[in-house]
């Protein structure tokens, strides 16, 4: 399953890279990309784990850049 999100307020390119690395390590994620310029997060992952994946990803985003909001695209 492929899910897309908008990362509103994403302002630091290095943070975007850190988020990408961390989200890719979540269990069940096949591929995650964070696009700093378009402020998009795309997660491809196992269907059954998607709810947990999204929850984890939200935590990661908040931890790395507290001012960034993760919204459904």
């Amino acid at each position: 399953m492929k899910k897309k999100f908008i990362l509103e307020g994403l302002g630091c390119a290095n943070c975007a890279a850190k988020m990408e690395v961390a989200i890719n390590k979540i269990k069940g994620v096949e591929k995650a990309t964070v696009n700093f310029m378009t402020q998009r997060l795309i997660i491809e992952g196992v269907d059954e784990l998607m709810a947990e994946i999204i929850e984890e990803a939200e935590k990661i985003v908040k931890k790395i850049e507290p001012d960034t909001k993760m919204k459904k695209a």
Partner: protein, 614 residues
Amino acid sequence: MKKSLVRIISGAVLLVVAVIINMIYQGWPSLVLYLISYTLVGGDIILKAIRNIIRGKVFDENFLMAIATIGAIIISEYTEGIAVMLLYQIGELFQGYAVDKSRRSIADLMDIRPDYANVKKQDELIKVDPDEVKIGDIIVIKAGERIPLDARVIEGRSLLDTSALTGESLPREVEVGDEILSGCININGLLTAEVIKEYEESTVSKILDLVENASSRKSKSEQFITRFARYYTPVVVILALMLGLIPPLFIKGEAFREWSYRALSFLVVSCPCALVISIPLTFFSGIGGASKKGILIKGSNYFEALANTEIIAFDKTGTLTKGVFDVQEIVPEGISKDELLELAAYAESFSNHPISESIKKAYGKEINQAEISNVEEIAGHGIEVEIRGKKVIAGNARLMKLKNIAYHDKELVGTVVHVALEGKYVGYILIADEIKKDTKEAIKEIRALDIKKTVMLTGDNEAVGKKVGKYLGLNQVFTELLPGDKLNKLEELLTEKSHKGRLAYVGDGINDAPVLARADVGIAMGGLGSDAAIEAADVIIMTDEPSKIPLAIRISKKIIGIANQNIIFAISVKILILILSALGITNLWVAIFGDVGVTILAILNSFRTMRFGK
């Protein structure tokens, strides 16, 4: 942004005042001013740093800057400490501005999303969201409105502005029966059209989707720089710690203050953002700049592939040529051109073969079929008829040989229809698929771009293929290929390139989707409206012009060049400053240049990708 600017400026003014007072009287008044100034300039950074430490985030740039500047203040380097914070903030503001500007320019470019559709229901027009319109609905597009969904005109004629999709400024004429693509603007007439695709499947949605997801396929330089940043910061911070502690502890006579100062310089240079930001910015601006020229690139990795292209293979029909058969030459012998064309058109009037159609089209007048009798088709050869009682033979060279008629047998590119009247040769008509206007120039330009090999893969016959290949100056031509053979030839070509080199395949995307997908870079020409092309290709040329291919390669080379310049420049300046700081030759002023200055220069450099010459 404005608020922080006011804060930073007032902080800067206070700093100047403090420096002046300090010159007159050293003591508490200037010290107080320094502290107020620092709080104004760097208060938010300190707060963020504290918040992030609580969340367990170390080596965060706020933290690094806080330590570096507080450290400077502790060793009584007030001016430098505050100035570092000040310049860092200015750099951040500039960065934010640059990213914002770039994001907005792409958003403008992609401002092709239609807001509504006028759906016609029982003589009434209802404005609805394009999402709600179904296939078969009738929509009305007034002058000045954007076409909301892909549709077919059923009433009216108009000019369309396609520039948002193709970069082509010349308006396109449409009339009843023509397909109109969503995203174009209706310039003057009133159009009524039947919707042929739902919004999700319409051209405008596909293009928006494509651009929004573009740079998610990352280039090697992007991957390199983010990986570099992951190790760079911790390494520099550890070095700073060692530099600040080891020499004064283990070497006699070395002062803590001096080595701490050097260590602080390290912390200032350790921020990775300057490096990291300029690369995605470069590629993103490049994707925007290229789409302004009607070239859609699906990911920044394809810039790399295009820049390293060694072999380009082309499809012929519809890619290098127009894909439409037209009468190219009428060469009569003993009669006039019009007479020859009339004879051929009458002779071919009963056939609906593409060749016959093109002759009839060139003739353009009504054919009185009552004047034709005794039609006899000779399969694979041509036609024998009587026109107004006179015997006419029209067909290929074999037919002329069969009928023992001496004909003009010079070698010609295309299909030749020879005509004989009452057993006597009266000339020939040459029908060919016309080569596009800019194809020859495009191939010449491609060859000048260090491309090792240009190849044509075509299903057409050998004579035509070889001629076209020779005329265009291609290195190699493979003819009479079935769709499956094209894929095999491509596999062979893939083995011919060097390890670093890439192979590009250019097709019209209608029947060569597998080949487009197999090539290192699949380029679809005139891909608008063809879903298969948009899906299978990596690069989509929105117009029909082959000259966009050398342009795409040149753009890619420029972008890769700029990205490399930024990487090399930023890393070498940082390393140089680290070495000089370790030796105690420089000061914090230079170190902050190593951070902010490099960022600003790299960002300015990346902006060059937004504009490309013709």
